[in-house]
Amino acid sequence: MGRLGKTIAVIGFGVLVAFGQAEAKNNIVIDGSTTVGPLAKSFAAYFTKKYNVAITVSESGSGNGAKSLINKTCDIASMSRSMKPQELVAAKSKGVNPVNNVAALDGLAIVVHPSNPVRSLTTAQIADIYKGKISNWRQVGGPNAPIVVIQRESNSGTQESFKELVVGKEVPVTKNAETQASNGAVKNRVSLTRGAIGFLGLGFTDASVKKIAVNGVMPNPVTVKNGTYPLSRPLFFVTNGQPTGSVKQFVELPKTAEGKRIITELGFVNKY
C-alpha cells in the first residue's frame, strides 16, 4: 500500500477511536410533529443539560410519530392531534397503550400575506375557501385577486386538526390547494405569495405573515388559553403506557416553572 496508504489507515483508525469515547446508555427517542418540534428540541436541550440523558428528536409529522410509537421505535411520539381510531386499533394489536400527556396548547393561526387588507374571517368563510366555494378575495371583502389555498400534507397533525375544527373531517379540500410539508414551508410560501392563505401553529408565526382574526378573535396566548379563539388544540407527548423514569420526568416538564418559561418564550401556550 505504500506510505500514503498506511498514513490514511492510521488517521482513519485514530479518528474512529476518538469518536468511540463517549457512550450514552440512557436515552430517549422522540419522533413526530413538526409543530411540536421546537418545543421538543428545546425541552431536549434543557433536559440533556440538567439530567445528562441523551435525547434525539425527529420531526417527520404526527402520523409518523404515531407509527413509530406503535412499532415501539420511539419512547415519545410528539403529536399535534390525538390518535385516530385506526391507529388506536393498530396500537392495541401490537400491545401498545398510548397515553396522551399534554405538552402545551397551540392556536391554529390563519395567515395571509401582509399586503392582504382582510382582517377577519368567520370559520364558515375559511371552510368555504378550503372547500373551493370561495375562490376570490373579493368575496370576503378583499381585493380582486384569486385565493391561493395552502394546506399541509396528509401525514400532518396540523392538517387533521384544521380539517376537524374548520372544514369537517370527511369533507375534501379543494383540488386547487397547494400542499406544503411543514409549518416553516407554509409560512415561507404565504410570506412570498400575495393571494395566499394558510394555517400554522401560533408558535411559528412572525412578522413575515399576517395573522387573521377568526370569528372576530385574534389568536394570542390569552385567547387560546381561555378558549375564546375557536381554533385551539392541545399538543401531546404520547407515551406507551403511563410514563416512568426519565420519560416521566420529560413529559412532566410542562408542569415545572422552567418548562413553562420555555413554552412561553417559544410562543406556545401553557396548559398548566
Binding site: A22, V29, G37, S58, N71, K72, P117, G184, A185, R261
Partner: protein, 448 residues
Amino acid sequence: MNLGTRKLLDQSFTALGIGSIVIMGMMLLVVLVPILTNGISANVFKGTIEHRRMQYNEFHRGDRDALQREISEAAATRKTAYDMMSTFEAELNQMDEVKQAEYRDKYNQVKDAVKSLLGPKPGDELPELTRFRYGQTRWEKAQERLREVLYEKKWDYSNPDIAAKEYLVSRAESFQGTSLVKLFPYVETNIDRMLLPKWTIYWGFIFDSSIDSHIFGGIWPEIQGTMFLAIGAMLFAFPLGVIAAIYFTEYAREGFFNSLLRSANSTLAGVPSIVFGLFGLAFFINTLKVSESKSVIAGSLTLAIMILPTIIRSAEEAILAVPKTYREASLGLGSTKWNTIVTVILPAALPGILTGGVISLGRAAGETAPIIFTAAVSVGSAIGLADVFNSPTPALSWNIYNLASEHEAASEIRHVQYGMVLALVTIVLLLNLTAIILRARISKKLKG
C-alpha cells in the same frame, strides 16, 4: 465532401465544444461561488461582543479579563440607552389613559427590538432558552435588527380593493414630543460601541456541537454522522460489490440467469433513493430489527444497498479492462484460477474498483432520502462508535433540508445552512480527491 466544408464543420464542432465547456464552467461558478462565500461566512464573520460572551459562557473559550473589559465598555454605552428608556417609562406612567394606550403598544415594539439587538437588559430575569440570552452575535444581523429599532414596517390598508403597499415609518417621528425621541439617533450612532464588532474566525463552527437547535454553535455531530453513515455503507457494500463483480466476470456462465441478474442490477441502480429509504425502514428496522429504532447501522445498510449496483458495475468494468494476456500468462505458468484472480487480476483492476468505490462513498454521504426513515434526526448529540447499533444521528444532508424548510427560525440562521452545505461539498470533494490520488499512485506502482 470537399476540404473547405470539412474544415468548416471541424471548426464549428470545435467552437461548439469550447462553448459547452464555457457554459459548464459558468454554471459551476454560479453554483459554487454562493456556496463558497456564504459557507465561509459561517466560519469567518464580523462577530459582536455577544458572540464572544456566548463563546465564553457556553464553550469556555476566550480570555476572561479582556472579555470583562469589553463587556464593561459596551455596558457603559448601553447604559445611556437603557437610561433613556427608563426615563420614558416613567414619563409613560404619568400620561393620561388615551395617550398611554397609544404609546404603550409602540413602546413595547421598541423594547422588543432593542432586546433582540442587545440581548436581555441587565437585571432582567435570564430567559430559559439560550437563543434569547444573547443579543445579535453577527454584525450583519445586528444591522438588520437596528433597522427594526429605527423603522416600523407598515402596510397601507386604506383601500380594501387593492393589495396593500408596504412603507416604513421612522420610529423617531412617531415618538416626537416625548423623551424617547433621543434614543433612536443615539442607538444609530453608537451601535458599534454597543456591540464592538470584530472580524472573527470561528473554527468551532466545524468542531462544536450545536446549541439551542442550531441557533448557536457548530455542526460537528452532523459532520460525524455523515462520516459514520458513509463509511458504514462502504464497509458493507464494497466487499460485497467486489465479490459480486468477480463472480459475474470470472465464474458466471453466460446465459439467461446471468443476464437476468445483470439487468436486475442495472435496474436497481435506477431506483429512486426514497424507495430504498422506505425499504430500509420496512426491512432492516421493522422486519430484521437490526435496531430498536432509527440507527446508524440501519442507515448504513440502506445506503449500502443503494450504492451496491454502482460498485458492482464499476468493479465489473475494471476487471474486464484487465488485458487478457495477464490472465493467460498467469494460468500458463501453472497458477490456479483463484490465485490468478487474487494476485494478478484484482491488483491490476484496483484503480478502477477504488474509483467506483469512492464515487459511491460521495453519493452515500450526500443522499437524504434513504436516511430520513432509517437514521437521521433533527437534533442529537455526537455519538460514540459504540452507539452506532442503537442511536440515530444528525447528518449533514438531512439537516440542510431541515434547516431550509422545517426549522422555526430558518431565515435567522441561513449562514448555518450554508455552512453545512459547504462542509458536505468539501467532504465529497476530499473523498473524490483521495480517489484520484490513490488511483494515480497505484497505477504508477503497477507500471513500475
